[in-house]
């Protein structure tokens, strides 16, 4: 098991290096001179040259890449062009709100998604299934930003039940996490249903029924564990969707998280921040997928790690 994790981690290295290289190239692919961008529009040519030297932009590309990787390993992403603060500090301040937002979205979308999926599979082609799957296909078709605006209009403006923007109390988390999780819950529901329908048609389920187990035990004890295997894989992929989706949802709810930091940075062409965030988001995604692969083995004993 430990051997497998180490092997997978080593296998990730080429992907990580390539991702890092692309993110590094970002600066050089930007139109215009990055040194001038960093120095500001009104800087004199002398200042621009100074900034160029300071940022190491006068060195050759390989040298710059080594410097960039060295910085990343020391968690040093340079300075934000907009606020002049270290990028690492900016990220630290914004990390937790985004983290909790994605975690809560995941938690409730897994619970609701799986519940709807199981109900739909058990009552296949009857009204709970029809209702559940109608909800699910609507969920994947409603873009997060539109859903967020609709929910805010109903629950904050009309009914005045929940706060609109910010992240001060737990009540602030309800609407954004529902908005962010809706699509994932919908995908989980569809996926759980099809996985469950397959499992419920298997011979061992018929055996369980034949030996007189009540339906609840058949579904939860024999069905659930087997149906869960593909669902867990799906969860990992959906986490990436949540990370990406948080960027949009944070704008709707004016959430003080990483997503809004990224949108603002793209607006202001604040490339050190863009670089760091793109790297961080993909790093998170890659690591989560690794964790999911390992979890996969824990719930599926038929998989042997080599």
């Amino acid at each position: 098991m430990a051997q497998y994790v180490v092997k997978r981690l080593l296998g990730l290295l080429p992907t990580l290096l390539l991702v890092g290289f692309l993110v590094f190239l970002l600066v050089h692919l930007l139109p215009g001179d990055p040194a001038r961008l960093a120095a500001g529009q009104d800087a004199t040519p002398e200042t621009v040259e100074l900034v160029r030297k300071d940022l190491g932009l006068d060195k050759s590309l390989p040298q710059q890449f080594v410097r960039f990787v060295g910085g990343v390993l020391r968690w040093d992403f340079g300075q934000s062009l907009r606020t002049k603060r270290p990028v690492a500090t900016e990220i630290r301040d914004r990390f937790m709100p985004t983290f909790w937002l994605t975690v809560w979205s995941m938690v409730w979308s897994v619970i609701f998604g799986m519940a709807i999926g199981i109900l739909s599979a058990v009552w296949r082609n009857r009204w709970p299934d029809r209702l559940g799957m109608t909800l699910a296909v609507s969920g994947i078709s409603f873009p997060a930003f539109a859903l967020g605006m609709v929910l805010m209009q109903i629950f904050s403006v009309q009914l005045n039940w929940l706060p609109t923007v910010g992240d001060d109390t737990w009540r602030h988390y309800i609407l954004p996490s529902v908005t962010l999780g809706a699509a994932v819950a919908a995908i989980m529901a569809r996926f759980t249903r099809s996985s469950f329908v397959d499992i419920l048609g298997e011979d061992f389920i018929r055996t369980a029924r034949a030996k007189g187990l009540d339906e609840r035990r058949v579904v939860f004890k024999h069905g659930l564990r087997n149906a869960l295997i593909p669902v867990v894989t799906m969860m990992g992929l959906q986490f990436g969707f949540l990370l990406g989706g948080s960027i949009v949802v944070e704008k709707v709810f004016n959430w003080p998280g990483l997503g809004r930091l990224l949108v603002d940075a793209v607006d202001m062409r604040d490339y050190p921040v863009i670089q760091a965030l793109v790297l961080l988001f993909s790093l998170e995604f890659i690591l989560i997928n690794l964790v999911v692969d390992v979890l996969y083995g824990l719930i599926n004993p038929t998989i042997r790690y080599r």
Binding site: P14, T15, L18, V19, L22, V23, L26, L29, L30, P31, R124, N125, V137, S138, I140, S141, F142, P143, A144, F145, A146, M149, V150, M152, Q153, V157, V197, G201, F239, G240, F241, L242, L243, G244, G245, I247, V248, K251, V252, L262, V263, V266, D267, R269, Y271, I274, V278, F281, S282, E284, F285, I286
Partner: protein, 297 residues
């Protein structure tokens, strides 16, 4: 003499099941997917004739006496904060969203399918390089890849389409590669090779048709995702710029007037929802009709 036409009738009576008629027979049974398909077709027609059917110009007509007005007989979907007719803007927006969804997925599917065929058929070095590129593209979660691309090449609708196309490439490449790997060792491919068919002929005439049904299903489902992605980028201010009547950009503009004029947000939101829903339902129906493994349970 008279037996020949009689024979022809007999053949028609026996219902020769071509793949196409088989598909149609299964697809026709799914009422929801049929309705969704009709809706998509109607939408395409509306998008094509949009400039000639809109009651007002979407960008240059301003009704200053009716700012933020609710829906009425004159303005079916109401008026926005600058005095523009929302119905006209929604209809023109269909052009943009459908074009963005279709073009980006078409480019992505084309490149992705070619790469997938190449990787699956050649294997070895080609396969490793192409799949490594896909891994890297997959390492950027969701919309992030599109945002990074837009950050480099700049905003605007054509750049958004390019970004969303690149975002679709790895999905198609993986799908087609998997199918190609499964098909290439089948006997009929071996037969084609033993007859002296070139690699190109084998891939294009014998392997590609075997992957086409999966590509069509993904194509339809992917258009929904791409329309949402493109609208999201416009909503974030990175795509279509004002005064372009793009649905995502319209929603972004409506945010400022949510308290006084919620209908400005309602109609673009509904437009995106119904369009994407139609493509998703159509995709589901196509999958059920094209996948031989799925018999209706």
């Amino acid at each position: 003499m008279a037996t020949l036409p009689a024979n022809a009738v007999l053949v028609a009576d026996a219902h020769v099941r071509t793949p196409w008629s088989e598909f149609w027979r299964k697809f026709r049974r799914q009422k929801v997917a049929m309705i969704a398909g009709a809706f998509v077709a109607a939408l395409v027609v509306v998008a094509i004739v949009a400039p000639w059917i809109v009651p007002f110009d979407a960008e240059t007509f301003f009704d200053y006496d009716a700012l933020n007005a609710r829906p009425s007989a004159k303005h079916w979907f109401g008026v926005d904060s600058l005095g523009r007719d929302i119905f006209s803007r929604i209809v023109m927006g269909a052009r943009i969203s459908l074009a963005a969804g279709f073009l980006s997925v078409a480019c992505g599917a084309f490149v992705g399918t070619l790469l997938g065929l190449l990787a699956g058929y050649k294997e070895g070095w080609w396969d490793r390089v192409i799949m490594r590129i896909c891994d890297v593209l997959f390492a950027f979660p969701g919309i992030l890849l599109a945002i990074a691309i837009v950050a480099i090449i700049g905003g605007g609708m054509s750049n958004v389409i390019a970004a969303v196309a690149i975002f679709s490439v790895p999905t198609f490449a993986r799908l087609v590669r998997g199918n190609t790997l499964a098909l290439k060792h089948l006997t009929y491919i071996e037969a084609a090779r033993s007859l002296g068919a070139s690699g190109f002929t084998i891939v294009m005439r014998h392997i590609f048709p075997g992957t086409i049904s999966a590509v069509i299903v993904y194509f339809s489902l992917r258009i929904g995702t791409s329309i949402i992605t493109a609208a999201s980028l416009s909503f974030l201010g990175m795509g279509a710029q004002p005064p372009t009547p793009e649905w995502g950009a319209m929603l972004d503009a409506a945010r400022a007037d949510m308290l006084t004029a919620p209908h400005e947000a309602l109609f673009p939101a509904l437009a995106i929802f119904l369009t994407v829903l139609a493509f998703n339902l159509l995709g589901d129906g196509l999958r059920d009709a094209l996948d031989p493994k799925i018999e209706r349970r």
